[in-house]
């Protein structure tokens, strides 16, 4: 187990280097001058531009720029954006809000998604199963921003149940955006749970559990569900990355000051260090969650062992 974790962590370092380099190269390739339009109506004085370019090392070749960036990053220095604010302070403001939003989305996935999946899995082709199948299909097929606008309009503006915007990003304000962000995955999670549960209900060990005279709740809730959750957990782990990246849309609709808007601005202004900083953190969270998921396999299925 210990050796497995160490091997995975080493692989993670490789992936992190690869991702940051890829993003760095992409930002490097972005056209446009970051100092265009920086000085109001007039063009910036050439001396200022030259000084800034030298300060940020913009005229160095890609590899040297990347090397310098990683060197600073290893010292815990995320760099600063062209307007002189450190990237770390911008991330500190934005990241907790987006993490909160994503956590809420994952919570909705787990509670509603798995709950609905269990209910429809144990009564296949029943009334609830059909209802869940149709509603998940509907949710899957509607673009997330349409869902966002419609829910914001009906639940927020018309009925006034939820706040319409979430500008300070407290938990209460983020409930509705979290639901919107998680809606698509919620539907997938419930379908996955349903299929997996229904398949496992036919397994030998379930028959044994029933034959032992265990109660139905225990057979389904403990024996079957534990094994059925493996594909679901895998899906949720992989989904964390999509949610973090997809938060950009939800944040736009509900006016949330998370990393979505920050990244969008940063890409537009060619703020290399900010974009790479955000992506590095996102990828790090994503990789750690997936390592956790792989370790969870062993908890869920005792047959799986990591040597």
């Amino acid at each position: 187990m210990g050796r497995y974790v160490i091997r995975r962590l080493l692989q993670m370092v490789l992936v992190l280097i690869g991702t940051t380099f890829l993003i760095f190269a992409m930002v490097y390739a972005l056209p446009g001058d970051p100092f265009a339009g920086k000085c109001g109506d007039r063009a910036c004085p050439p001396d200022y531009v030259a000084a800034q370019r030298a300060k940020f090392g913009l005229d160095d070749p890609l590899l040297i720029q990347y090397f310098n960036y990683v060197k600073n990053l290893l010292r815990g220095n995320f760099g600063e954006s062209y307007n002189g604010i450190t990237v770390a302070s911008q991330l500190q403001q934005a990241i907790p809000i987006t993490l909160r939003l994503t956590a809420l989305a994952v919570a909705f996935e787990i509670v509603i998604g798995i709950g609905a999946g269990i209910l429809s899995g144990i009564r296949r082709n029943g009334y609830f199963d059909n209802l869940a199948l149709i509603s998940t299909l509907v949710v899957i097929s509607i673009p997330i921003f349409v869902i966002g606008y419609v829910l914001q309009f009906t639940l927020g503006v018309k009925l006034g149940i939820f706040p319409v915007t979430a500008s300070d990003g407290s938990w209460g304000q983020l409930i509705l955006p979290g639901l919107v962000l998680g809606s698509l995955s919620l539907a997938y999670v419930s379908r996955l749970t349903r299929t997996s549960l229904a398949e496992n209900l036919r397994a030998d060990y379930v028959r044994t559990a029933v034959a032992k005279g265990l109660s139905r709740t225990r057979v389904i809730g403990v024996h079957t569900l534990r094994n059925s959750l493996i594909p679901v957990v895998t899906y949720i782990g992989g989904d964390v990355g999509t949610l973090l990246g997809g938060a950009i849309v939800t944040e736009g609709i509900f006016n949330i000051n998370g990393i979505g808007g920050l990244t969008f601005q940063a890409i537009r202004l060619k703020e290399g260090s900010l974009v790479v900083g955000v992506v590095t953190l996102l990828v790090l969270v994503f990789l750690l969650v997936n390592l956790l998921v792989d370790l969870l396999y062993a908890v869920l299925d005792p047959r799986i062992r990591y040597e």
């Binding site: 991702t19 097929s141 673009p143 349409v146 209900l201 999509t242």
Partner: protein
């Protein structure tokens, strides 16, 4: 097996118990059903027989044929063109003359929706084709070669997989700015490139694992013993037996790409006017959702139906290809 069915039968309808009983017999005697039907059937033929009677497949296939026709010959569905606009009709709601109403510029929304099918479906089909080719190639090479080639490709897949699709797509789109005079096809290809550069990883992963699963099979060993070249082994023996899961995932992903295109357009980065697409229409309408919901309703309805059709098609094909679910 039938004992478990009995325990599950408390919840399952009785008709289901019958079909499972039949399945239990056919798995116990694998040779029988084929003899009974005269000639042996391949997996593909079997799947096709199953699909032909599956209502979900028939509905989704019909929808897709209609949508493809709409994409190829929009003139068959409407006599107007998406360029004709009448500003006096700006945001007029649905009526008997114009069932879908008019948009901000006074364009007939029905016409726009019909003409929008082409760009949206084109993005989906092209992105799926490219990810399918790229991902399959990477997956086959990694799975078949093994060793350090596998390690390199797998880590490379991890790198691309770890970047969120939407963020990466935004970067790619910004990397290729399109001046106002750019032809529509270039704008469409830009979005396709953005989706394909990051979208190939799931296909590669699935392909790799199914190739590894098939590689050790006896018939592959036999082909190798007979002196078949690696290319022949891969194309004739491994690929046909490993391709099914990839096809299923790609069909479902096609719908997803159409939705992502709409999301990119919503962010102002996907397709842009003069291209007419559902995504463009939806993103324009989302500003007016509180005053003219009809502008949002109809393009999103068509988008949803398309996405739904491809997802249902993928589901049906998976059920047909997976003998366990019969």
């Amino acid at each position: 097996m039938s004992d478990i069915d009995a325990s599950a039968a408390a919840t399952a309808p009785t008709a289901r118990g019958g079909s499972q009983h039949h399945e239990a017999i056919s798995t116990a005697l694998p040779g029988r059903p084929q003899e009974g039907h005269g000639e042996p059937r391949s997996l593909g033929k079997d799947a096709w027989l199953d699909l032909r009677t599956n209502p979900i497949f028939l509905i989704s296939a019909t929808l897709i044929v209609v949508l493809l026709t709409m994409a190829m010959f929009p003139g068959l569905f409407t006599s107007q063109t998406p360029e004709s606009a009448d500003l006096t009709k700006s945001r007029v709601g649905p009526s008997s003359q114009a069932w879908f109403g008019y948009d901000l510029q006074g364009n007939d929304i029905y016409t726009l929706t019909v003409y929008g099918a082409r760009a949206s479906i084109m993005v989906g089909v092209l992105a799926t084709t490219i990810t399918l080719l790229l991902g399959s190639l990477a997956g086959i090479v990694a799975g078949y070669a093994g060793g350090w080639v596998d390690s390199v490709i797998s880590r490379l897949t991890d790198v691309f997989y770890a970047i969120p699709l939407l963020l990466g797509a935004i970067l790619v789109v910004f990397a290729f700015p399109t001046p106002p005079e750019t032809p529509s096809i270039v704008i469409i290809l830009r979005v396709v490139a953005a989706l394909a550069i990051l979208g190939w990883t799931p296909v590669a992963r699935i392909m790799r694992s199914s190739v590894i699963g098939v590689k050790q099979a006896d018939y592959v060993q036999a082909a190798r013993a007979l002196g078949a070249s690696p290319v022949r082994i891969v194309l004739r023996h491994i690929l046909p037996n490993a391709v099914a899961p990839v096809i299923v995932v790609s069909t479902i992903a096609l719908g997803g790409y159409i939705a992502v295109e709409a999301t990119l357009s919503f962010l102002g980065l996907g397709l842009t006017p003069p291209v007419v697409s559902w995504g463009v229409a939806i993103s324009e309408a989302s500003t007016f959702v509180r005053v003219s919901p009809h502008m949002l309703l109809f393009p999103s309805l068509f988008l949803s139906i398309t996405v739904l059709a491809f997802i249902m098609l993928g589901d049906a094909v998976r059920d047909a290809l997976d003998p366990k679910l019969r």
